[in-house]
Structures are given as structure tokens and as C-alpha cells.
């Protein structure tokens, strides 16, 4: 872009190098750029590359084996179960967290008493780590000592609630703990979003005689789209990474009934010392994330660049 030499200008200023314009801001962005490029992009490429190698205990970039690791991965029962569990857990966790979070937020939004106390109670589990969460719920769901035993001691002898030792429903046992830990934060996010909505909306809906629940579903929820997006990003990134909770609560058992992909990746990398296979599995996880995220990122950031 050349400078136009026009008019009776006394002087023509040269455009300074773009590189040094607002230098401080560029220096300040260096950590972000480094993290994005070196860590997230660089390490991802590194991981993908090594997923095509026979890396065992140590990364071995020279031992190229093509798609071997992927063939084995998809032939393994445990991986398939992990994927299935993640799908079930992910779907339930996302819908339940959002539903419970929203219902609780709506209840708290009704100008109730003790709002602060109730909100604190619902939020506090978020302060606890997954390991602690897993241990506490393992303990409560323990059939000999926990809930089942207590209900039976009250006289309901046939009461059976032993999800952690039942392969069919073990994933829901983990879900109970996961929801307990994370829904409070979702609630706070959504409550904050709800409070941000114009009071006039409520006045308008009262004037028109629309019941409260309808106002929430048809008017409030669509208006809270940005909050939901933030909440979904946070929940979903947690779901993909779910590991500690499973390890603390069931160690993947009974059998391999509650295995999840992150655990598969970690165990293949560190227990079985098959880095290549672990990297292949994590590449598959990454791929599934991309499939979900790219359309979203396009809608979210591509559409309003100049907005």
C-alpha cells in the first residue's frame, strides 16, 4: 500500500513498519501466540505424527508403522466401550447439567429467600477435585456401607441401588457424581445470564399473560444463547477429559464397564507403555472434538468478524 502523494502537502509521511506499530501489544500477545502455536498446535502435530509410529516407552519418531495403531485401536473392545461410555456420559451430562442448572437458576431467579445460602450450597462441590468427588460418592454408593445399606436398615429389605458394581448402569453412578460436582457452576452461569435479561421482557410477558415456564422456554432461553455457549464449552471440555472421577470411583470397573477414552489413552501410554497406541487414541478424540467444534467455531467467530 503506497502512500498517495497528493495535494499541497508539505511533507509525505512514510507509513511506519506495521511490525512495530503498537509494539507493546504485540509483545503482550507473544505468550498467547506461543501457547497456541507451540503447545496446542505443535504438540498436537507431534502427537498425531507419533500415532503413526511404533513408540513404546519413549517416543520413537523413526519407527513408522502407518495405520497399524489405528487398526488395533478400532479392533479393541475396550476402546469401543470407552467411546460408547463417553457418548452416554457426554450426552447425559450435557443435557442434565444444562437442565438441572437451568431449572435451579430459574428457581433462584424467582426472588426467593435465602438465595445466597442455597446458591453457595449448590456451588460448593465445584471447589472440590474430581478425586475427592469420586471418593465421596464411591463411599455413599458402597452397597455394604452406604445408601443401599441404610435404606435396607430402615426396613426396605429389597432395596437395591448398587450402580458402581453393576456393569449395566455403572456409568450412571459416575454421572451422579459428575453432575453433583459440575451443575452448580452451570447454574451460576445461567443465573448470571438470566439476570442480564431486560426486566421489560418479564413485564411484557405478564401483560400478555404468558405463563412463566413458557416465557423461560420460548423467550428467555433463546435470549441466553451466548451464556449457553460458554456453559457448553466448559461442560464439554470437562466431559472429554473425564478421567480422575472414573479412576477414583470405579477404576473403570466392574471389568471394563466404565472405561472412558481419556483413561484408555493414559493407560495405554503409561501402563502398557504403548505411546503410539495412546497417541492414536488421543488423535481420534481430537478428531471427534474437531468435528463438533469446527462448525460451532465457524458460526461463533466466522460470522461476526466485522460486527
Amino acid at each position: 500500500m503506497a502512500v498517495t502523494d497528493a495535494g499541497p502537502a508539505t511533507e509525505v509521511a512514510k507509513r511506519p513498519s506495521r511490525l512495530f506499530k503498537n509494539l507493546a501489544s504485540k509483545i503482550a500477545a507473544v505468550p498467547m501466540v506461543l501457547v497456541a502455536l507451540v503447545i496446542f498446535v505443535g504438540c498436537t502435530i507431534w502427537t498425531i505424527y507419533h500415532s503413526f509410529t511404533r513408540s513404546r516407552l519413549l517416543p520413537a519418531p523413526e519407527k513408522w508403522v502407518g495405520l497399524d495403531n489405528y487398526e488395533r485401536l478400532w479392533g479393541e473392545n475396550r476402546w469401543l466401550i470407552s467411546i460408547e461410555n463417553l457418548a452416554i456420559y457426554g450426552f447425559c451430562s450435557l443435557t442434565l447439567s444444562l437442565t438441572i442448572g437451568f431449572v435451579l437458576a430459574a428457581l433462584l431467579d424467582r426472588k426467593i429467600r435465602f438465595e445466597n445460602t442455597i446458591r453457595t450450597i449448590i456451588l460448593y462441590p465445584f471447589a472440590l477435585s474430581f478425586v475427592v468427588t469420586g471418593l465421596a460418592w464411591q463411599w455413599i454408593l458402597n452397597p455394604q456401607l452406604g445408601l443401599q445399606n441404610v435404606v435396607r436398615s430402615w426396613g426396605w429389605e429389597s432395596f437395591a441401588f448398587d450402580p458402581l458394581n453393576n456393569a449395566e448402569i455403572v456409568i450412571f453412578g459416575i454421572l451422579i457424581a459428575g453432575i453433583w460436582q459440575g451443575s452448580g457452576f452451570v447454574m451460576v452461569l445461567l443465573l448470571a445470564g438470566m439476570r442480564g435479561i431486560d426486566e421489560d421482557i418479564w413485564k411484557a410477558s405478564r401483560v400478555e399473560g404468558i405463563p412463566a415456564w413458557k416465557t423461560y422456554i420460548f423467550i428467555v432461553i433463546p435470549m441466553m444463547r451466548p451464556v449457553f455457549v460458554t456453559a457448553i464449552v466448559i461442560i464439554a471440555s470437562g466431559i472429554i477429559k473425564v478421567y480422575d472421577l472414573v479412576v477414583a470411583q470405579t477404576s473403570g470397573g466392574p471389568g471394563i464397564a466404565s472405561e472412558v477414552p481419556a483413561k484408555y489413552v493414559i493407560e495405554k501410554m503409561f501402563f502398557s507403555q504403548n505411546l503410539g497406541l495412546g497417541f492414536a487414541a488421543s488423535t481420534m478424540m481430537l478428531l471427534s472434538v474437531l468435528v463438533v467444534l469446527i462448525p460451532w467455531a465457524y458460526l461463533e467467530f466466522g460470522g461476526k468478524k466485522n460486527g
Partner: protein, 313 residues
């Protein structure tokens, strides 16, 4: 309200009578009560269990309050529980955790807030692309990154050491850990700060530029003082996350400097014959005490901070 219409003139005057026990209220408070019980149950069980002696625990009912309150499990968890051949409980880990926590929280928040600010007010070519990559980064399981990051830290630390002529290292030093926490805190924190700064009117930024404030001037004098709520949110998230971290703490520290969570893991997973549930619960509660306290104290600020702009997409 049907009866009100018949005698409208005499009855429907003045403020609407408030009915405390209306069916709506009963449903709302009833639901909330049940919900609170669900959320409080594990905490209750943990506290009650930690105050019981082992014989009482074996009797079975985990929900019954302790017949005989004992603080022995707490004492044991804090100063006596053992791992391997060390018999000093969690006490040592507490201070180690504090030493890790403080610089990690400060650096990670500083970097993320500056990044968020640069993303909103000082856009450059591709800045949105970098941001999108960061958000993708939030979905990568940490464990996958362990080896490459180890290699990067080793080489960077060694390089710095060579250049400065010292035996500076990132691996095994607290700064390596700080960097790792900064990296993995970045996606969500940058998202929060970016969203918050977007809600600050652009004209304010323009006014400050006309007033001659530069990048840092605007950040420190205008943005920072305006952003207290979001800093509280970020701080709470980071304190919780870093305090509860096990994986990085154990990889990037040495036995003398193991954080509390590593010692918690050691106590909980070292079974000396019988699992001492009471000691485990006490240790768990002790470890969770710091983030819990922060939540109970500043929960209100947290909610306000999130409302103040973290929610805008």
C-alpha cells in the same frame, strides 16, 4: 382469582396480598430443599465419617451422626498419616501447595488477562485464529501433552541456562510448574477475560488513547481497575484448579515439595491393612479446605463477577 372479580371494587384494592404458603412457593422451596440435601449429602457424610472411630464406621450406617466424636482422624491426617516411610501427614504438603499456588495463580491470571485485553482492544492479523486455537486447546486431555511439554521445558530451560551461563532449569523448578499451570489455565481464562473486556465500551478505550495512554497505560489504569469482578472469578477458578491439581504437581516437583494433593493421594491410596475411612475423609476435607473456604467466603463475588460479563458470548 375468580372470586376476586365478583366483588372487584371492594376487594381488589391496594397491594396484592402475598401468600406465604401458596402452592407455587411450596413447590419452589420444596424442590430447593431436596436439591440442597442432594448437594450437602456427600459433605455431611465426609464430615460425619471423619469424626467417627473405625469401629463405629464398621457398624455400617454412614448417615448416622457419630456416637462418640473423635478428632483423632483429623490429627492423624494432618500430622501422622504416612506414605512410604514418611509419617508426617498432610502438614508438609499444605505449605508446599501454598508456595506453588501463589505464583501460579498470579502469573496465569496476568498472562490470560493481558491476552484477553490484547484480543479485544489491540487486534492484529490472525488474533482471532489464535484465540480459536486456544479454545480447541481446552478440549485436549492434559496427559497427552505431558511428554512433549516435558521435552519443551527441558530444552527451553537448558537454553536459558546456557545463555545466561547459570544452571537454570525449568524442569523440576517451580517456574516449570508455573508455566504449565499458565498454559493449561489459558483457554478458559482468556475466554473469560476476552468476553469481559468486550463488554467494556469501546469509547472508553478510544478516550484513553486520545489521552495518550499506551497499551500498558490503558491496561493498568483503565481496564484493570474496572475488572475487579472478573479477576475474582479468574482467581477463584485458578485457586481451585491449581490447588486440586495432582498430575502436574507430582511430575514437576520433588518429594520435599510435593503439594497437598499428592500427599492426599498417598494417604488415601496407601492402605495399611484396613482402609481408614475416617482418616481418608479427614484428609480429603483438609485438602479441600482452601478452595472450599474461598468459595464460601467469596461465592457472592464469584456470582457477581460471572454476571458482570463472563457470560457474554
Amino acid at each position: 382469582m375468580a372470586d376476586a372479580t365478583t366483588n372487584a371494587v371492594t376487594e381488589a384494592r391496594g397491594p396484592k396480598p402475598r401468600r406465604v404458603f401458596s402452592s407455587t412457593n411450596i413447590i419452589i422451596y420444596g424442590t430447593l430443599l431436596v436439591v440442597c440435601l442432594y448437594y450437602l449429602l456427600p459433605l455431611y457424610v465426609m464430615i460425619v465419617t471423619s469424626l467417627k472411630g473405625m469401629p463405629e464406621i464398621r457398624l455400617g450406617n454412614i448417615f448416622s451422626p457419630p456416637v462418640e466424636v473423635t478428632f483423632q482422624p483429623w490429627v492423624k491426617a494432618w500430622s501422622e498419616a504416612c506414605t512410604g516411610i514418611n509419617w508426617d501427614g498432610l502438614s508438609r504438603g499444605f505449605w508446599n501447595s501454598v508456595q506453588i499456588l501463589v505464583p501460579s495463580v498470579i502469573v496465569s491470571i496476568a498472562v490470560a488477562s493481558v491476552s484477553g485485553y490484547a484480543l479485544v482492544n489491540w487486534r492484529f492479523k490472525g488474533s482471532e485464529a489464535f484465540f480459536t486455537i486456544l479454545i480447541f486447546g481446552a478440549f485436549i486431555p492434559y496427559q497427552v501433552m505431558i511428554y512433549p511439554i516435558v521435552i519443551i521445558l527441558r530444552d527451553t530451560g537448558g537454553f536459558i541456562g546456557d545463555v545466561t551461563g547459570t544452571n537454570f532449569r525449568l524442569m523440576g523448578s517451580i517456574w516449570g510448574l508455573v508455566i504449565v499451570h499458565t498454559i493449561f489455565g489459558m483457554p478458559i481464562l482468556t475466554l473469560l477475560f476476552r468476553n469481559y473486556f468486550t463488554s467494556v465500551p469501546e469509547e472508553l478505550f478510544k478516550a484513553a488513547r486520545v489521552d495518550g495512554a499506551g497499551f500498558w497505560g490503558i491496561y493498568f489504569k483503565i481496564m484493570l481497575p474496572m475488572s475487579l469482578p472478573i479477576f475474582v472469578v479468574a482467581m477463584i477458578l485458578q485457586v481451585t484448579g491449581i490447588w486440586n491439581d495432582f498430575l502436574f504437581g507430582v511430575i514437576y516437583t520433588k518429594p520435599e515439595t510435593y503439594p497437598m494433593t499428592v500427599q492426599l493421594n498417598n494417604i488415601v491410596n496407601s492402605v495399611q491393612g484396613v482402609k481408614e475411612y475416617n482418616v481418608n475423609m479427614a484428609a480429603t476435607l483438609l485438602t479441600g479446605l482452601v478452595p472450599l473456604t474461598i468459595y464460601f467466603i467469596s461465592g457472592r463475588l464469584f456470582v457477581r463477577g460471572i454476571a458482570a460479563g463472563a457470560v457474554k458470548g
